[in-house]
Structures are given as structure tokens and as C-alpha cells.
Amino acid sequence: MKLYDRGKIIAGVVIFLILITFPFWYGKGKAVTPPQLDLDTPAIGQLAEKRCVEDAAWMRENHMKLLVAWRDSAVREGNRTYTAKDGTVVEISLTGNCLKCHSNKDRFCDRCHDYVGVKPTCWNCHIVPGEVRR
């Protein structure tokens, strides 16, 4: 079997492989430090028990699912309370409840979202408290 333009094809394949694997060998050995989330806000400081709606580990994994469920519950069903696994009942409100404690969106929400490269569209409409003065 004869391969026409062998030199060009092989060179092309090599360049292609180099480019497509670029992110792997460029980033090899470099460790990006995980974001340090800041929980030091006045509202959290005043809490007797430092506990989110659910426990921290569950919230870390599932907050996005919880927020979607909250959104549907409040908007579609008009149900504005959520009963946590331990029985406490909380108000369903992103800016009125979540961000009351996590009033440092740039040092809490954004740090992790930037790190994992997700762009939640919440803030296209919902207003970050403190963004505007009353």
C-alpha cells in the first residue's frame, strides 16, 4: 500500500496530536489550589449552631439541586417553605434567605463557581443584596 504525500500527512497527524493533547501536557504537574470559601459573615457569626439548611457536606454536593427544587416549589406551586431533613422549616428565598447568611457572594459562591467553571444565571435577574442600597 502506498501512502501519497506521506510526509505532509504524518506531519499533520503529529501536529494534530500535539494540539489536541495540549491541555494535558501543559497542565501536567501544576496543581491549582482549591478555592478557600469564606464563611466569615456577620450573620453566620451570630449563629449558635453553624449549620446551613442541611448539613454542609450535603449542601456542597446538592445545593444546585436544592435551589432548582426551591425555585419550582416557590414559583410553580406557590409553596414558600422547605422542611429540612432534621425537621426545621425554612423560608424558600434565594436572596431573602440563602444570601442573608452568605452575604459575601464574591468570596463564597463565586470562588467555587469560578474554580469549576460554571456560570449560574441566577444573578441575571436576582439582585445580590448590597448591590443596591435601599
Partner: protein, 252 residues
């Protein structure tokens, strides 16, 4: 000593009270911990507008509503966004108007808003279910699901819906942090102040009206203020012949 029948019954009664009381107390305690369930509830929300009471050039209800809901003032009528506004009588009630209605009445401004129809054409045409009718009759917009296709805009016979052709944030004079804005490419309209009803407050326009021209309440409740007005006065709806069953009633 074996207890007598009477003693046995007394002990059994006291024990029963003792068993029930703590659980009742716990139930009461857990109730008081939960967020206040003070929301206003109705079987069917409706509004009665007595437009004859409106002062000339009064815009109190529009301003109150648009401030409460972060409605932008784009400044260009082609891109106008509005939840409640007014039109001349002969434009609002086109079919009911004729040449011999006195000019003062014919050109009188009538406040108009979403009619929260019982048979809403916007809900029927919405391809994503972003607009829907709640069991209490409020026709809601779920901006999260709106794709901005504008079919509801065409379907609504009352022009009650507006689309955000551009990001509305820079055009909002004073942001109300308690209510979200909208983003570019979504429809918005009056929501009968659903977020205020959930907190137990009447709609912003109703509270803002000094002349009490706007009355809000449960039309299914025979003792509501709305029903009192509907029972006593002659009221009409906008374009009732279309079969949309509007729930904003007008006293003329």
C-alpha cells in the same frame, strides 16, 4: 386494693390527658418555629376597577407597581415594558363606546392590567409552560422557563404582556432588592402581586390608590369586598365576548 370503677376511670382519664398534652405542646412549639404562614389565600383572586374614581393624571398605582417590581422605563414606546397603565375609555372598551358618549367619559383614562383570565389564551399557546394558571386564578410568569418566543404576546387580546428586548437593569430607576428584575428576552406582566399576597400584603397598586378605585379580593367568597361591589353595581369586563373570562371587572 382493687380500684373501684370510678377510680379506674379517673386514673385512665388523667393518663390520657398526660399522654396527649406533651405531643400537643410539641406540635404548637414546632408551629411557632416555622416561618409565619400569614399569606393571603383565595379560591379566585379578582379585581374591581372603579375608573370613575380615578383622578385625572394620577399615576400612583402605576408608579407603585413599577417600583415594586423593578419594571424598566426604556423610554422608547416600541420597547415599552408595563404591568399596569391606562388607556382612553374608547380604546379600552372599543365595542362599548359610540359617538354619543360624552367626550369627557370617552377620553377618560381607564387603568388596565393583566386580566388574569380564567381561560387564558397566553397559557394555551406557551410552548414551554412558562406561563401558567395557578389554582387561585393568578396567571403567572415563570421567567426561568421563558424562551422569549413572544407567542403569548400575540395571543393576549389585551396587550398585557411586554418583552424585554434588551437587558432591563440599566433602565430601572430605583432597584427594589426584594424582587428580581428580568433578563433580556423574557416576557413579563402583572402577577397580581403574588409575592406580596404570600406575605399577607395586598397588591401594590391597590395599596397605592388613595381614591380606593382598585379593589382586590376573592370573587368566590360571598363576603369579600370584591363580591359586594359585583353584587351591587353594574360591571363589565374587557372583551368578554372572546371567552377568556377576564377577572378584572370595571365599574364605569
Amino acid at each position: 386494693m382493687t380500684p373501684t370503677r370510678r377510680q379506674f376511670l379517673i386514673i385512665a382519664g388523667i393518663s390520657a390527658v398526660g399522654v396527649v398534652c406533651p405531643s400537643v405542646a410539641r406540635l404548637m412549639a414546632s408551629r411557632s418555629e416555622s416561618p409565619k404562614a400569614t399569606g393571603l389565600k383565595a379560591r379566585r383572586w379578582a379585581m374591581v376597577v372603579d375608573s370613575a374614581k380615578c383622578r385625572a393624571d394620577c399615576t400612583d398605582c402605576f408608579t407603585a407597581c413599577h417600583n415594586a417590581h423593578n419594571v424598566p422605563d426604556i423610554g422608547n414606546p416600541k420597547e415599552e415594558v408595563k404591568w399596569i397603565w391606562s388607556e382612553r375609555f374608547d380604546h379600552v372598551f372599543h365595542a362599548e363606546s359610540h359617538a354619543h358618549i360624552p367626550g369627557a367619559i370617552r377620553t377618560r383614562p381607564v387603568p388596565i392590567l393583566c386580566n388574569h383570565c380564567d381561560n387564558p389564551p397566553c397559557v394555551r399557546v406557551c410552548p414551554t409552560g412558562a406561563t401558567f394558571r395557578r389554582p387561585d386564578g393568578i396567571v403567572m410568569m415563570d421567567s426561568h422557563r421563558c424562551i422569549g418566543c413572544k407567542i403569548c404576546l400575540a395571543a393576549c387580546p389585551y396587550g398585557a404582556r411586554s418583552i424585554n428586548f434588551r437587558n432591563p437593569r440599566p433602565f430601572i430607576r430605583k432597584l427594589n432588592p426584594d424582587f428580581p428584575t428580568r433578563s433580556k428576552g423574557v416576557i413579563e406582566k402583572c402577577n397580581f402581586c403574588e409575592e406580596r399576597l404570600a406575605k399577607g400584603i395586598l397588591p401594590a397598586c391597590v395599596m397605592a390608590c388613595e381614591e380606593k378605585a382598585l379593589v382586590f379580593g376573592d370573587v368566590e367568597d360571598p363576603h369579600s369586598e370584591v363580591r359586594h361591589l359585583l353584587d351591587r353595581k353594574f360591571t363589565i369586563c374587557r372583551r368578554a365576548e372572546l371567552g377568556t373570562k377576564p377577572q378584572v371587572y370595571y365599574i364605569l
